[in-house]
Amino acid sequence: MISAVSTLFGHSLARRRTRRWLVGVFWGGLVPLLCVGFQLVFITSHNQNGIAVNFAVLSILWITIWLGGVHAGGWVKPFRAQTKVRNIVQPLFAKPKPTQSELIAQELAMDERESFQRDYIHFVAYSIARTMTLLLFTLYYLLGFWNQELLRQAGPLLFFLLTITLWSLPQTLILWTEPDMEEPQ
């Protein structure tokens, strides 16, 4: 599920300890930072919500690049098999052999254990997200009793936090739970 050759500042991601540090940095630092950034953008430009939407889209793209799981790139293999891009010139001149893109696709393809693990992790992530949605919704509802202005401002923030969670929780669970990788020998 994780590329064994990936490194983070020289530390191999084959080690679970490194991956847990990464998850800690992501949830402890980056997610609050993104939320604060989104809130600032939203508050300062609530008459131009397009800016806030752009910020949200960029954040999500950045998370994808950082963690992976969606397309090739990031530390977690893509959850869906990659589309093979065939070299149409090569077969005309030589015996068909795997193109670079096919080799990358093979490298990124998940086997049966990884597919099973992916599905299980998504179920766990769904269960966590379901509870979190309920809690955020309750919090949002309670804020309405307390302060209407705060409710108006907190709504998009809570929604953004939920979006980040839904987008990145499976990847972070994989990075956290996969054991240390062994040598291929």
């Binding site: 064994a4 998940m110 086997d111 049966e112 254990r113 990884e114 990788m181 062994e182 040598e183 291929p184 020998q185």
Partner: protein, 101 residues
Amino acid sequence: MNTTDQKAPGESGLYNRIAVLRAERGISRQELADAMGVNYQTIGFLERGDYSPSLKLALSLAKYFALPVEAIFSKQPFQPLSQQVYGKQPTTASIQEETAI
């Protein structure tokens, strides 16, 4: 080799002899993984008993090692190879008996 045979299964609850067979044939995890079309880490998970393979993968492994599936996987601990080859394992009582004679 015998100690590997008796290794307790992990999460799968299955005992297996993949590590023994692999060592016996001198092939790496990567080579076996390539032959099976899986990631080499999956071979590690199988060897530790942390993953229960699909029927397709189990049959592929059996075909690769030219052995029946039940020779590779078992729900019961495998007997040590020495015991299988040389018959019943001598007990302490039988050894004492033989010594007395």
